[in-house]
Symmetry: C2
Subunit: 457 residues, 2 copies
Amino acid sequence: MTIDAAIDALQSLLGDRITRSKSDRDLHGRSESHFPLTPPDAVAYPETTDEVSALVKICAAHGCPVIGWGAGTSLEGHGLAIRGGISVDFLRMNRVLEVSAEDMDARVQPGVTREGLNAELRATGLFFPVDPGANASLGGMAATRASGTTAVRYGTMRDNVLGLEVVLADGRVIRTGTRARKSSAGYDLTALFVGSEGTLGLVTELTLRLRGQPQATSAAVCAFETMEGAVAAVIETIQTGVPMARIEFVDAATAFAVNAYAGAGFPALPHLLVEFHGTEAGVAEQAETFGAIATDHGGRGFDWARQAEDRNRLWKMRHDAYLAILASRPGARAIVTDVCVPISRLAQAVVETQADIAASPIPGPILGHVGDGNFHAILLMDPSNLQEVEAAEALSARMAERALRLGGTVTGEHGVGMGKLGYMEAEHGGGWDVMGAIKAALDPEGIMNPGKIVRGN
Amino acid sequence: MTIDAAIDALQSLLGDRITRSKSDRDLHGRSESHFPLTPPDAVAYPETTDEVSALVKICAAHGCPVIGWGAGTSLEGHGLAIRGGISVDFLRMNRVLEVSAEDMDARVQPGVTREGLNAELRATGLFFPVDPGANASLGGMAATRASGTTAVRYGTMRDNVLGLEVVLADGRVIRTGTRARKSSAGYDLTALFVGSEGTLGLVTELTLRLRGQPQATSAAVCAFETMEGAVAAVIETIQTGVPMARIEFVDAATAFAVNAYAGAGFPALPHLLVEFHGTEAGVAEQAETFGAIATDHGGRGFDWARQAEDRNRLWKMRHDAYLAILASRPGARAIVTDVCVPISRLAQAVVETQADIAASPIPGPILGHVGDGNFHAILLMDPSNLQEVEAAEALSARMAERALRLGGTVTGEHGVGMGKLGYMEAEHGGGWDVMGAIKAALDPEGIMNPGKIVRGN
């Protein structure tokens, strides 16, 4: 068999750093989501770019699929080996190679996690701002164009990857971008590989943009009478130019779940959780401006947290909201949806989604990154109850269709993976064929994470 | 002849909106730079996307080159018809189609100019921030991934184009991106077309990100003893998190030229020109912080301009610096160079460039966008003096090579065009082949702006 032949050759290259053990294969066939176990034929643990290049050359020679693997925190099954092949786990390529404080950038290997990088940066006064919640690997975050709570201020991986080293489908190694902050020198290959989910090549190094740790931070939580009021407050705050670092929405159902899970005492209303970064005077002014706007739009019970301890509690609550929601229905599994719409349509999108969920047999608290128009419903289903599973899938499908109808996208930050492939044609039209043409040009044999992003490869 | 046959067919499509008149052809064969006149065979003035699509289909059927044309402000000869063909002038596609104040975005046709858009936005409280100096068309700015004085705060065209409508090389029309602020739905086609200089398709519509007009603006000019001091002040200011809206560098030679041209009284020293956007209290605080940092690094003669009139004078001076430099040597022509390096290497890059220019027979004042590490030398040569022309070209070549040696790029914002093609392999290595593969996949007949960006098409 061709995959077996590839594995034999890879054993000469990697020795015991390639394994066919069931436990390792199963670990790399799972996802955080509801997709069935889809293990690869083997798992490889390369240590250098040269090894990755040699590995890909061997796989190319045998037509063996190659699937990148980071921290396994994908919510859309990006890493599932649906055509078999080799899962390339970047666990051993986890070094921060260089930090330049003057240039405010860092060169890292793909297996470094977000928290790992920030731990190494602590003494420098710098930090890496993209925060998807999970302690994902930076290679994986680049592959899925991840973002999270801070994108409203600092952007997504699209905005924070300055350059890449990539192993192409034939094993060639290229570098994209430079360490200059901007360039007009030809096609933006960095942007092409960011978000390509390992279908065009494997990222073996990233140059990342860093930011200065803010002098001062303040955070607040504020309840609103209505979803529309909360969104209107956000729109006005952004228009006013207040540089919010985070602005998160949780609905009444999420507030309820958090109360039960963490002993919080939120009223059963929609809430905004906000954070400001700046100087002492700056964050105070921003907070005041936001507070006044929020009050104008029915905000109440405005609660400031200027101490790190209070802030940490607030954001821990936000980060734990997913766990709180899961805990609200013991034994349930979740479909975590992920749509993003123009902010002018956000209230409509959320209200319609809430009504749709209310009419279904399952609960689905909603939370999201309201400054970007990106939100998630956590659809809780009993996996053994077919009716519930079908209801969850239908709700998820209608959310995606609704997002497209409102001028948005079927995935704001989780990526395409297994879950959103069916919407690519609807979202991109002829642009999906262009993606297919690019895939065919760069991976003509279709060995790089086959079955993902483009049509029928 | 195939091009003649294409023009015949285009006349049926466009009537008198396609012309072979010498004056029109010459106008579309010129550039703002030193490249020889390279007119197209005809100039077309389409009015709709459908017409552009039909035009490209006709050209594709006849193998006739198609070159986009905006406001003609390219500095690298992007629009020159080096293989003949049709110059597609977007003059008549110059409408602002939609402005959404809530979403802070606008949908525009490619022939709208930057100043035209901002004039239409004036009453909305919003503005489009990318400012390359010239009143370029927005389609052209997207094609070259333009930026300018405000990129340090608001980013380049890469960051401010949310989506595009593009006519592909076979006449198909696609839309890239959505009106959502972010997406993880597949390859970032928007980013691929931005900066592609018309070699992959023609942009027929842009969705642009807008910003709120700042409540308050302040600006300042400050002389420094040394280039190194000026750069160190900029680095520290950025690290401190001061959100500068502009931070421009002019060298002593530029200050001297501006004095002569505009009756200014700058000392013959390097200067920084800065601008802050924010609240009244915010810009005052930012100015104070910057002032203290500048003083620490040898800044002196700090001069604030909080009144719009004073600010306008300051920035007019900066925008007129190119004219002032040209006027400093009557009859001279300029090569405007454009390199960008990591900011930690900026002082070195400028100092080495100044020394190189000083040892040459020609003058070359330097100015640039210091917050991005991007700078320009305006190399003034007598075009009839072969020795001077050769000296200018050699200086320009050494600047590009120096930028690469220091980890930078051969073009920060002007693009590849005719002037930087020779450096693409040195800058991108194997990445240049990837660009070629993408070009071959999307424009297999090589009709879209042939001879630009990629190898030998």
